[in-house]
């Protein structure tokens, strides 16, 4: 049953995407910037903005979820999520039983290149997901940085960007 006969065939105006094409070719993982705004949470250990141990907080457009990840590091990596996170109960539409977090709540510890790094929640909210795949396979941080997020947190305030990201700075892109 040919239901597509009713409307004209689908054509794409690729010219409109020329600029995006160039940007993505230079840095493919920048596609995430189309879905999330990017901010940096400066922890006690990272005094130098250029340090590779930067924690990115990515926020979805409707302020629904910050996603936390680490800027790439090389070599051996060990990742350990905190006990509170591992034991948290995440269930149901409202996620009423989930772990409540503060900006400085430690979600996870990363050991790489002989140093230890604490991943903090960076926002006030409810833990909605933690990345079990990353816990099982820490090298995802190197192979697929865009899949190596630590956690997803639903902020308590959902309307005010500035309030949610009070502890973060917009990233320099």
């Amino acid at each position: 049953m040919d239901n597509t006969a009713d409307s004209p065939p689908i054509t794409y105006d690729l010219g409109a995407y020329a600029a995006l094409d160039q940007e993505l070719q230079a840095a493919p993982e920048r596609y995430l910037a189309r879905y999330f705004s990017e901010h940096i949470y400066a922890t006690a250990t990272a005094t130098d903005v250029a340090s590779p141990e930067l924690q990115y907080v990515r926020m979805a457009p409707n302020n629904s979820h910050p996603v936390h990840e680490l800027a790439g590091s090389g070599g051996e990596v060990a990742i350990e999520f905190s006990e509170a996170v591992r034991k948290s109960v995440i269930r149901g539409k409202a996620k009423k039983q989930s772990l409540r977090v503060q900006p400085d709540t430690k979600l996870c510890t990363v050991r790489a290149q002989g140093r230890e790094f604490a991943v903090r929640a960076a926002v006030r909210g409810t833990l909605v997901e933690w990345n079990t795949r990353l816990a099982d396979d820490p090298l995802l941080l190197v192979r697929h940085p865009d899949q190596a997020f630590f956690a997803i947190v639903k902020p308590h305030t959902t309307t005010d960007d500035a309030a949610i990201l009070a502890a973060c700075k917009p990233s320099v892109v």
């Binding site: 049953m1 239901n3 597509t4 009713d6 409307s7 689908i10 794409y12 690729l14 995407y17 995006l20 094409d21 993505l24 070719q25 493919p28 993982e29 596609y31 189309r34 879905y35 979805a60 409707n62 629904s64 979820h65 996603v67 995440i90 269930r91 149901g92 539409k93 996620k95 909605v128 997901e129 795949r133 995802l140 697929h144 865009d146 899949q147 997020f149 997803i152 639903k154 959902t158 309307t159």
Partner: protein, 510 residues
């Protein structure tokens, strides 16, 4: 006419065998201050021509009751109310002015209904006064025992007659698309039923002991507004003597008339079904408003619903689609099945061509949302829309960007992947995680076809099971949908445009 009225009053059907007996009863009843219709009611005269406002003069004469002063039509309402007290039995609910008011308000809406059901909600005091009159009649020698007509039935009859005469609608008390709900109130006699409240339930606990919240709430509710059934039950259980002790028989008149507390005119919803096409992006299916702010300017529901609402003269409308697409996704092909429910329509007698004209108007104005096969449907036909949402497959076409262009061999591999159905495990997408439960849902792709356009751009066609998130399948949603097009292609993938090409559901019915 005279013949039938006389017959009703003291003919073979009546409990009164002669005009004298009937007149004696009428006189006794009229002496209580009861209005003409209530006199007829307690004489057991069945509802019929005798109750018509036009027959009043005749009935007065037949029964020998003088016409009350000032009850002519030319007097203003205030003058009438000052000159006489209202009927103690029906509180003037049966007065023709009330029926007239109902008919006027109904006619003002111009419903094109052919029949209607009338629902009546009477003040509790009317039930008490009905019983009081019955007790009085039982004690009176002039009034014969008969089944007195109730106020509710009499009102339905009187209002029904008025509506039939002025609006041409028939009253069908079993089933109708149109409901007329009349709620009456009389503040002055609001406490008449108090002597007949059921005794408060014995509390097993001593007063002052803590009660559960739910019970305390029920107690307060019961004391504040006892329900009608309780009062009626109490009245039925009460003996005549007992009743007399608690309430005057016959009942005392009240100064003011009962008024219409609320008049609700409700018509069964009208359903219009068809398929819609969304030819441009940035249109949501229903109005998208968050925290009082409208985030997307146009909606399918408003574009289709507004003209239908105007055509049927409805209060409101609801659009229900068989599934939905994001605001930035177009709906092409034969369109998506949907129906619009028009709520409380004034006009339902519509020719198919009038509905088709709505469709033609959308096409003529090159509206970004258009319909196909728009038609009136029966309420039962709407069920298939929701069933189809779960079970029917959808066809999509997407513009995809890949970081690493694919070899021909790789393209062939990917195209073969769904030959026998490709099973995905989709965790609730990040973009909807705030309003859906965190689950992993298995979804099947029935067909997958990727074709190179140029450079990094590819056209991807997908046929999937209902409920699959296509955007997430393309980029993988941070690794939370597996497999994804990105994982199959072994490279970063992003989706730039998405269109729905087909929703396979057979609707509207032929």
């Amino acid at each position: 006419m005279a013949g039938t009225i006389a017959e009703a009053l003291y003919g073979a059907q009546s409990v009164y065998s002669s005009a004298e007996e009937a007149r004696a009863a009428a006189a006794a009843l009229a002496a209580t201050g009861a209005c003409l219709l209530c006199v007829l009611r307690f004489m057991g005269v069945p509802l019929g021509p005798a109750y018509q406002a036009e027959a009043a003069a005749e009935v007065h004469e037949a029964l020998g009751i003088p016409v009350p002063a000032g009850d002519g039509g030319s007097d203003t309402q205030e003058q009438q109310q000052q000159q006489q007290q209202c009927c103690p039995a029906c509180l003037d609910i049966l007065h023709h002015s009330l029926a007239d008011e109902v008919a006027d308000r109904y006619r003002a809406q111009e419903f094109d209904a052919e029949d209607a059901v009338i629902g009546v909600d009477l003040p509790k005091s009317v039930y008490v006064r009905q019983r009081a009159m019955e007790v009085f009649c039982a004690a009176s020698s002039a009034v014969r025992k008969s089944a007195a007509v109730g106020v509710k039935d009499a009102l339905k009859h009187v209002v029904g007659q008025r509506l039939a005469a002025t609006c041409g609608i028939a009253i069908d008390n079993s089933d109708s698309q149109m409901r007329i709900e009349i709620a009456l109130a009389h503040a002055e006699t609001a406490d008449d039923h108090r002597p007949f409240l059921p005794a408060p339930q014995q509390d097993s606990r001593p007063p002052g002991a803590p009660r559960s919240k739910a019970k305390a709430k029920a107690d307060r509710a019961r004391d504040h507004e006892p329900n009608l059934a309780a009062v009626v039950g109490e009245l039925a259980a009460c003996s005549d003597a007992d009743f007399r002790a608690r309430f005057p028989c016959p009942p005392r008149a009240a100064a003011g008339r009962a008024r219409i507390g609320s008049l609700e005119l409700r018509r069964a919803s009208l359903f219009v079904g068809g398929r819609y096409l969304k030819l441009e992006r940035n249109i949501s299916q229903t109005p998208f408003i968050v925290d009082g702010q409208r985030l997307v300017e146009l909606s399918v529901a408003e574009i289709i619903g507004e003209p239908l609402r105007a055509l049927t003269r409805s209060d409101a409308y609801n659009l229900v689609g068989s599934g939905r697409e994001d605001a930035d996704v177009r709906m092409l092909g034969a369109g998506r099945p949907f129906y619009v429910e028009c709520i409380n329509p004034r006009t339902t007698r519509l020719a198919p061509d009038q509905i088709r004209e709505v469709e033609r108007a959308l096409a003529r104005s090159a509206s970004p949302v258009q319909t196909r096969r728009l038609q009136l449907i029966a309420p039962a036909d709407t069920a298939v829309i929701k069933e189809g949402e779960e079970h029917k497959s959808k066809h999509y076409c997407a513009l995809v960007w890949l970081a690493q262009p694919l070899s021909e061999a790789r393209v062939a591999e990917i195209n073969a992947a769904a030959r026998h159905g490709l099973l995905l495990q989709q965790m609730t997408p990040v973009r909807v995680l705030h309003r859906r439960a965190p689950l992993t849902r298995p979804k099947r792709l029935l067909a997958l076809e990727i074709a190179h356009i140029e450079g990094h751009f590819y056209r991807v066609r997908i046929e999937s099971e209902a409920g699959a998130y296509i955007k997430e399948f393309v980029h993988g949603d941070l690794g939370r949908t597996t497999p994804s097009l990105a994982s199959l292609a072994g490279t970063t993938a992003d989706i730039l445009e998405l269109d729905v090409e087909n929703v396979s559901l057979d609707f509207p019915p032929p």
